[in-house]
Amino acid sequence: MVMVGLPIVENLIAGLLMGSFYALMAVGLTLIFGVMRIVNFAHGELYMLGGYLLYYLATLFGLNNFVALPIVIGIMFVVGVVIERTLLRPIIVEKLGDEYSIIITFGLSLFLVNFAIAFFGPEYKSPPPYVQAYRVQLGPISISGDRLLVASIAIIILVFAYLIISKTKIGLAMRAAAQNREGAMLCGIDIYKVNMFTMGLASALAGAAGALLSTIMLLYPQAGLIPAIKSYVIIALGGMGSLIGAVVGSAALGIVESLGTVLLSAAYRDAYSFLVLILVLLLRPQGLFGVRVREV
């Protein structure tokens, strides 16, 4: 029994670790959806850019990963602000519908992927790791120590983000705007500033995820597509606009994937998230924590 149970427990933990990275992406997406009411289809590319930024900072400037990471976060924050200002502002100003944000972020995604192919090259790149690979023994269970470290950094970043959202003035403004945009504007909240900050924060989180995960997984121009798709599933599962849902959903998905590859079929690993999405739509469209989703 122990022999069978061991890989399952180890996979469970591995799944949870992956979940922490998914959470960085999902929380960012949730912020964007909650405050700005749009789904950012270029989110995966923000992840990818974070990875490439780390790579070039480490290889071209010889910076240590731990030094480069905050720089990546800072740059990605600015990138997010710029994107909001140039491409997404018209949504409020001209009262545009869903299609605009979906298509334009899709176009941005396409642009960034091909930009990376053209200027960074299509081949896989390997940023240097944060620490050398080692294993940690917890009794009979053995887990990857470097993954544990990187996941811990992810969690620390998440905690920072949580503090920003719950303790700062701008965080309060974000929460107000998420609950009732018109009401928040009537209270004098500068919705333009809130949107830019939200996008910047989300972009920083995604970039951080990329800067962390790319040292464990492969870095290539399309590397962001799969994490992004999983993030969409997570926010649908957790209930779009719910931060708790994003975190719980991330952990859940990480575990489902891990167990799925062990218990069912490894070849279909990436498909499990989609099956989860279909199930969510069928049974509980508002997700685990969300509110009503019917159009009318």
């Binding site: 298509i103 930009f115 597509l225 989609f274 739509l281 019917r294 159009e295």
Partner: protein
């Protein structure tokens, strides 16, 4: 029932149809006839994508996947059941329709973005299944299929089949949009809540149109498979989807001629940009962004505004 008058309004359209009809007879190079046939294929895809996105405000990321479903369904039934490719195309159409009913029914009752996410999930599942179920689909290598028309060396017949499908699509879309049901479609596209309050079952309208467009898309995909003679995951790939969206957006969302113009134009440009390989999609992506941001109505819409005003 339909007065086709040679009035000022109809003239450009009739001229365009005439132009497309005689094109292969004038340009006799097989290479360009082939390119234009591909262009017509994309025009069909862009037009159907535009019905959902431009008129109903629902963006589908499964469009290329439906073309692929049509292609695979047709190829597999031709190879294993021995039926002629033309019949296979109808089977491909049926397969696409069934899947669209399933996805549409699930996701079109919900907020707009859920539909888009569902189509994304569906497209990805389909792609994974095709790659993994190697035995049936030969994965990335692709499935060799018989050509649509046996014993013909020229691409001209294919051109005219594609043109026929395109004109059929445009004509039926035009008829639908101008009917009473079409008024309901436009109402739903303008304001779903107001439409519901006026007695329109918006979910039904959306599902019906999604099935209509998916049927045509999978038919076109099946045609494409029998045109090239090979069905591979390439047909349903992300790049194809991106191309179709670029064509519809640049040509003009929410108009009938727009996507056709966009498709033919971008296909021709695409051929010229072939040497620049990696920059091709970069340019198209830039076009999507710039057009949507600054020229929302696309080429057709902007030209119409400039020429006719308002």
């Amino acid at each position: 029932m339909f007065k086709i008058s040679l009035s000022q309004r109809n003239a450009p359209m009739l001229l365009a149809i005439l132009f497309l009809l005689v094109l292969p007879l004038v340009v006799r190079q097989e290479y360009w006839i082939y390119v234009m046939t591909i262009g017509l294929y994309y025009a069909i895809l862009a037009s159907t994508w535009n019905v959902m996105a431009g008129f109903l405000g629902r963006v589908s990321f499964a469009h290329a996947a439906f073309a692929a479903i049509g292609a695979y369904a047709s190829a597999l039934s031709v190879l294993h059941l021995g039926i002629p490719p033309a019949v296979g195309m109808l089977i491909g159409m049926a397969a696409g329709t069934v899947f669209s009913l399933f996805i549409g029914y699930l996701s079109l009752r919900l907020r707009g973005v859920y539909f888009t996410l569902s189509t994304l999930a569906f497209a990805e599942i389909f792609r994974i299944v095709v790659t993994v179920e190697y035995e049936y689909t030969r994965g990335s290598l692709g499935l060799e299929t018989p050509k649509l028309i046996e014993g013909v060396l020229s691409y001209m017949p294919y051109y005219y089949v594609a043109l026929a499908i395109l004109l059929g699509t445009l004509f039926s879309t035009y008829v639908i949009l101008n009917s009473a049901f079409g008024l309901k479609i436009k109402a739903v596209g303008n304001s779903e809540e107001a439409a519901e309050a006026l007695g329109i079952n918006s979910a039904k309208v959306k599902v019906i149109m999604f099935m209509f467009t998916s049927a045509i898309t999978s038919l076109a995909g099946a045609f494409y498979g029998h045109l090239i003679g090979l069905v591979s995951p390439e047909v349903g790939a992300f790049d194809q989807l991106a191309l179709v969206i670029a064509m519809a957006v640049v040509g003009g969302l929410g108009s009938l001629p727009g996507p056709v113009i966009g498709a033919l134009l971008l296909e021709v440009i695409s051929e010229y940009l072939r040497e620049f390989g990696i920059f091709r999609l970069l340019i198209f992506a830039g076009l999507i962004i710039v057009t949507l941001r600054f020229f929302r109505r696309g080429i057709y819409g902007t030209l119409k505004q400039v020429i006719f005003g308002g």
